[in-house]
């Protein structure tokens, strides 16, 4: 057990840190005020800068244009990006989920066609997985694809499609054999979002933003060469994609939480309670300290999980608790922020009296999504119960 960075890890970190120091755009947070399109163009440009610097696709093999970084280097990468306050990358799903899936299951032609433009953010990707009647029970999805000549004809509806509004391409899971058991008749297609019959409708969420969309497919023709993996074995491909969801890019999250925590502590010294700074109020102190401790434990849990994967190549049981831990912790953190800020906590961006430009009212609302997106807390607990503890399936 040695939690210090090794000489090679330090060298990697220092090289990255030096590069970030000269390339991360300054004061980019204020660009949130721009139009959605202008802001997204800025994020694409940032990813292009990373690509040109050789930092895009940090986990991808060098043969496919990635950095080929070791797991610990990937962890360092996401942490340093967070520490440097770097903008997110535009093609999050392409880099994190779709690219690795094409690398694992795609044909040589698919790799040659799609991977480079994912890295450079020239083509943005979304994922067509969830449907109105297939959320946690993903294998129950109904969007169908019929083979007609050399194309599949797709009909159906997807929902909660992040980046659907910006996407050029979609990794789409469809049912190609309606008579097979539900896990058996699925196939994964790569769909050009500009194909006639694809319609994207924004879904306004409770924060007022439109991070995701509904996507409708009406007689959309997809060439047969756009099948990823084998026909009717799409479940394995889809699960392969979702396994990447846990990856290393959560490594930056504990840095973000720590930064939010530090800001709350700072605010607690300014906000007054009973004639003195809230930082001296015994109840507030208890709550802040509890939250601070949990952020530190989230980091320790992550380090243990990453160390295990790095040493053995397979995720250990610690991995399965990360999602529950970070999502529920963020909700507690946001609630403590609200308690600390009192009536000011509700003020939204645009109100001149809002603290931190409304970041805390936004954070409070946005955090409700954390225990739902990327596998609900209930599904995560089922996974721990069945796959980790070996309890009988509940459904």
């Amino acid at each position: 057990m040695d939690l210090n960075l090794s000489v090679e890890e330090l060298r990697f970190r220092d090289e990255l840190r030096a590069w970030l120091a000269t390339h991360v755009p300054e004061n980019w947070e204020h660009r949130h005020d721009e139009s959605v399109d202008a802001h997204f163009a800025f994020l694409k440009q940032w990813q292009r800068t990373l690509y040109d610097g050789g930092w895009a696709g940090i986990s991808w093999p060098t043969a496919y244009g990635g950095r080929g970084a070791s797991l610990m280097q990937q962890v360092i990468f996401w942490q340093e990006l967070a520490l440097a306050d770097a903008p997110p990358m535009a093609n999050v799903l392409g880099l994190g989920l779709v690219g690795p899936t094409i690398i694992a299951f795609g044909t040589d032609a698919q790799k040659a066609r799609y991977l480079r433009t994912i890295l450079s953010a020239e083509e943005i990707w979304c994922q067509g997985f969830s449907e109105p009647n297939a959320g946690s029970d993903l294998a129950g999805l109904q969007t169908e694809a019929r083979l007609e000549g050399d194309s599949y004809v797709v009909n159906g509806q997807k929902v909660w499609t992040s980046y659907g509004w910006a996407a050029d391409w979609c990794e789409l899971v469809v049912r190609t054999d309606p008579s097979a058991p539900k896990h058996k008749g699925l196939t994964v297609l790569l769909v050009d979002m500009k194909t006639p019959g694809v319609e994207v409708r924004p879904l306004k969420q409770m924060t007022g933003e439109t991070e995701f969309n509904e996507v409708f497919f009406r007689d959309v023709r997809v060439p047969i060469e756009n099948v990823v993996g084998k026909v009717n074995q799409g479940w394995d491909v889809a699960i392969g994609t979702l396994m990447h969801e846990r990856g290393t890019f959560g490594a930056g999250l504990q840095i973000t939480y720590r930064r939010n925590m530090d800001r709350l502590i700072e605010l607690s010294r300014e906000v007054r309670r009973g004639g003195r700074p809230a930082a001296l109020d015994p109840v507030i102190r208890q709550k802040l300290a509890q939250c601070y401790a949990e952020v530190a434990i989230m980091r320790a849990n992550q380090m243990r999980a990453f160390s295990r994967i790095s040493a053995t190549g397979v995720p250990g049981p610690e991995g399965s608790i990360q999602k529950i831990f970070w999502s529920e912790l963020n909700q507690r953190l946001q609630q403590i922020a609200q308690e600390l800020l009192g009536p000011y906590g509700q003020l939204e961006a645009g109100d001149g009296r809002a603290i931190d430009r409304g970041a805390w009212s936004y954070g409070y609302l946005r955090a409700r999504g954390n225990t739902i997106e990327a596998g609900t807390s209930e599904i995560q607990r089922n996974i721990i119960g069945h796959f980790v503890l070996g309890l009988p399936r509940s459904y």
Binding site: I265, I297, A311, R381, H386, L391, R393
Partner: protein, 363 residues
């Protein structure tokens, strides 16, 4: 960076697990729980033979010279087995304080017999105020003699030395010396007996470096958290086994989500407490700048989590969980005792607040 165990650490953990599985089965635990002192000299001799009583002490004292991480791994296994008696008091508590406060000559005098299995020790800090804040200690030494009362002293009846915290530092007292009186306190934990110790002008030897006390207590706290993690893990294991076999409505109760989700939470809390304990141990061993923080974080989390895990374990067992015959209450009793020992969650949250938020008024 590698947060996993090294090969030798894994071997130590596995052999300790095997040792306690063989030597400290629940029948023996129950027998010792019903005894006056919960101390078993034969078991003690075997632990000394394994090097457990000298695990963190220098070779110069006859110890094994391993680090805090190894101590934590050993205590986790001891906690899993609910090891009764004075291993924690002797090695992780009194021993760690002596190790941090004593001169080389004092170390040899007190630690060597501990390493060899010939002596046991304990630690007396709390007074009637029951405060773990050293600032609340009132007992004063006058010309090398102590007068006053210490409470909640673990395993005092089988200790050869008592390390006593006084206002000006730590002292070692021989409990057989004139003026020392030991009376049992009836605590919830049947496997770790508590005593009130009164000193009436009792002779005491001052340990060389009083400033080592905080370090000693931090090592003890990390070890205690690890012991709690072992207990949590065992509670989880027993409960999951029960949920797989106990049937209602024709199905194992573990197939019901209400039960499954409680098990998942027990698992999350156990693993998180373990991460915190290991991190604190490493930070202490490496003298990391956040070591003090890390110890409080581990203790505050584990203090709440070990109770929560016990609560759920008993709940899932239904009526069986409430019986004397079931082992869970033995772990549950230990968990409550450990929760308050060396400061509960509220205490450590305030301690952490002083480190990372701002000092309290008047400090």
């Amino acid at each position: 960076m590698q947060f996993g165990l090294s090969e030798s650490q894994t071997i130590l953990r596995d052999s300790a697990r095997e040792f306690f599985a063989g030597e400290c089965q629940m029948a023996r635990v129950r027998r010792l729980a019903e005894s006056d002192t919960a101390h078993d000299p034969a078991l003690w001799a075997k632990m000394a033979e394994q090097g457990y009583t000298g695990i963190i002490f220098d070779d110069a004292c006859g110890g094994v010279g391993l680090g805090v991480v190894e101590l934590v791994l050993l205590m986790e296994e001891a906690g899993r087995a609910l090891l009764p008696g004075p291993l924690f008091s002797t090695v992780a508590l009194a021993g760690a304080v002596i190790d941090a406060c004593a001169s080389p000559a004092q170390k040899k005098k007190y630690l060597a017999p501990i390493c060899h299995g010939a002596a046991r020790a304990t630690f007396a800090m709390l007074e009637s105020s029951a405060s773990w804040d050293p600032a609340d200690v009132e007992i004063v030494a006058r010309s090398g003699r102590l007068t006053g009362e210490k409470l909640f002293v673990p395993d005092a009846a089988v200790a050869d030395w008592i390390v006593v915290v006084a206002r000006d530092g730590a002292y070692v007292v021989d409990p057989k010396a004139p003026g020392v009186r030991i009376a049992p306190m009836t605590g919830m934990d049947l496997t770790r007996k508590l005593y009130a110790v009164t000193f009436a002008d009792a002779p005491a030897e001052k340990l060389d470096r009083g400033d080592g006390l905080s370090r000693g207590l931090q090592v003890a706290t990390a070890a205690l958290v690890a012991e709690m993690v072992g207990g949590m893990q065992r509670t989880l294991d027993i409960t999951v086994d029960y949920a797989k076999t106990r049937k209602q409505f024709g199905k194992p109760i573990g197939s019901f989500q209400a039960v499954q989700h409680m098990c998942a939470d027990m698992y999350l809390e156990t693993e998180s407490a373990r991460s915190a304990a290991y991190y604190a141990a490493w930070a202490l061993q490496d003298d990391a700048p956040d070591a003090t923080e890390a110890v409080s974080i581990a203790k505050l989390y584990a203090s709440d989590a070990c109770r929560a895990v016990g609560n759920r374990g008993i709940q899932i067992h239904g009526g069986m969980g409430f019986t004397w015959e079931n082992d869970l209450h033995l772990y549950y009793r230990r968990a409550k005792s450990s929760e308050t020992t060396l400061g509960d969650a509220t205490f450590h949250r305030e301690r952490l607040a002083r480190l990372v938020i701002v000092a309290a008024p008047g400090t």
